[in-house]
Symmetry: C2
Subunit: 257 residues, 2 copies
Amino acid sequence: MVEKETTDIFHRGGFYLVQPVRQGHRAGVDAMILASCVPNGFAGRLADLGSGAGAVGLAVLSRCPTAQAILVENSSFMLSFAQKTLAHPDNAAFRRRLSILEADVTLTGRARSEAGLVDNSFDFVIMNPPFNSQTDKVSPDSEKVKAHVMYEGLFDAWLRTAAAIVRPQGNIGLIARPFFIAEILAALKGRFGRVRIVPICPRCSQAAIRVIIVATRASRAGLQLMPPLILHEREANAFTPRADDINNGCLSLWDGV
Amino acid sequence: MVEKETTDIFHRGGFYLVQPVRQGHRAGVDAMILASCVPNGFAGRLADLGSGAGAVGLAVLSRCPTAQAILVENSSFMLSFAQKTLAHPDNAAFRRRLSILEADVTLTGRARSEAGLVDNSFDFVIMNPPFNSQTDKVSPDSEKVKAHVMYEGLFDAWLRTAAAIVRPQGNIGLIARPFFIAEILAALKGRFGRVRIVPICPRCSQAAIRVIIVATRASRAGLQLMPPLILHEREANAFTPRADDINNGCLSLWDGV
C-alpha cells in the first residue's frame, strides 16, 4: 500500500515538509511557534527531539542561517518522512546543516550515548513531546497515539535526556498544554533554571491553549511568566500580525515583547 | 510610644482601613486584586489568612453583600489594626458579617482546631502569604520581615491549613510572585484541582509581576492558564479601565474574560 503524502510549504516558501496525509503526526502552527523560541542569530547545535518529519528543526534553520540541527525520531514511519523532507530539492540548501538520527529519546546512560545522544553536545534542545492527556479522547490511529498520548513520567524521561545532552547554560524549549505545567516544572526542578513560560492564547480574553516553556541548564535564576502570544484579534479568524510573523519565521518569540 | 497610623479609603469609600504608617505590612493594590478572585455573588464563609489590618476580607465583604468573613492574623501588632479597622464608624455596616481570630496559620491537627481553625468550616480561603524570596533584599523592619519573607516550606504549611479548613469543592485564592509558581503547584498537588493561574502584568508586553492562583478542594479538573490582568496601558501610568474597576471593587477577576 502506498502511503498518501503531502508536500507543505512553510515560512512562505522558506522550506518544504513531506508528511503523511492520514497516519502519524502532522505539523502545523504548534511546530512553528515552538521553533520561534530559539532566539534570532542562534548559531549553535540544535537537537529536535521527536522531530516527526522535521518541521521544528527546519523552521529554526530557516530563520537562523548558521545554526545546525539534528532531527531525533524513534518512529521509522515518521523517519521515512523526515528523509523525504531532507531529500526534497527545494530543501537542498539545508542538507549541509541538517542530519537525522533514529533514536529513542527515553534511553538512559550508556545506551543513550551509544544511540548518538551524547552528553553536553547540544546548545539548544527543542521538543514537542506527546502531550495529550490519557483522559483525553485517544485517536484510534496508532501512529497518532504514539505522537500524542501522554504516558506516565514522559515529561520526566524526555527532560532527563534533554538535561543530559544540552551543555551547561544551554537551553531547552518545549510546547505543551497548560494542563501539564505542574508536571513539567517538577521535571525541570534541579536540572534547569531561568524557566520562562509563554502562554499561547487564541484571543486576548481567552485562557491559554498551549504554553511554550524555555529553561536554561544549570541556571539558578527564577521563573518568569511572560506576556502571552495572542493568535487572533478579538473578532477575527485571521492571525494577529505578531502570530503571523512568528508562524512565518519573520520573528522569534522574544521579539516585540 | 504612639504608633503613627493612617486611615485609608478603599473601593471609593466602600470601606476604610486603619493601618500603621511605618511598621508592618501596608495593604494596597495586591490586596484588592487578591480580593477580586472571589466571584461576584459569593454568599458563604470566607477565611482571610494572614489578614493584616483586614484589607482583603473587607474588600470581599464590600463587593459581596451577603458574604461573611473571618480575619486570621498571628501578629498582635497587626491585629490591633484589624480591631481599629473593625471599630471604625464608617465600617459599622460590616461588623455583623466580620470577625477577628488571633491564630497561627501554620498550626496543625488538634492545635489548629482548638485555635479556631476548624476543618471543613469555610467556603473560600484567601491568603496573601509572606512571599518575598529569601534572596531578595530583606527589610530591616522586623514587622515587614514577618509579612514578607518567604520561609522554607511556607507555602506548603499555609496550603495544608487551607486544605483542612475549606470544605470539599470550596476554593482557595492566593497572590504570589511568579518566582514561586513551581513551589505553589507542588504544594497544591493532591489537595486541590482546577488550578487557575492569572498573570498580573504591568503592561501587555511585560512579564507578570504577580500571579493570582485559585484552586478547588478535591477537584480533579486540570490547570488553566488564564489571560493576564494588564495594570497599565502601554505608555500610561494610570490603570487600565479593567484594573481600575478591579481595584475599586466594581468587577471580579472573572468578569470580562
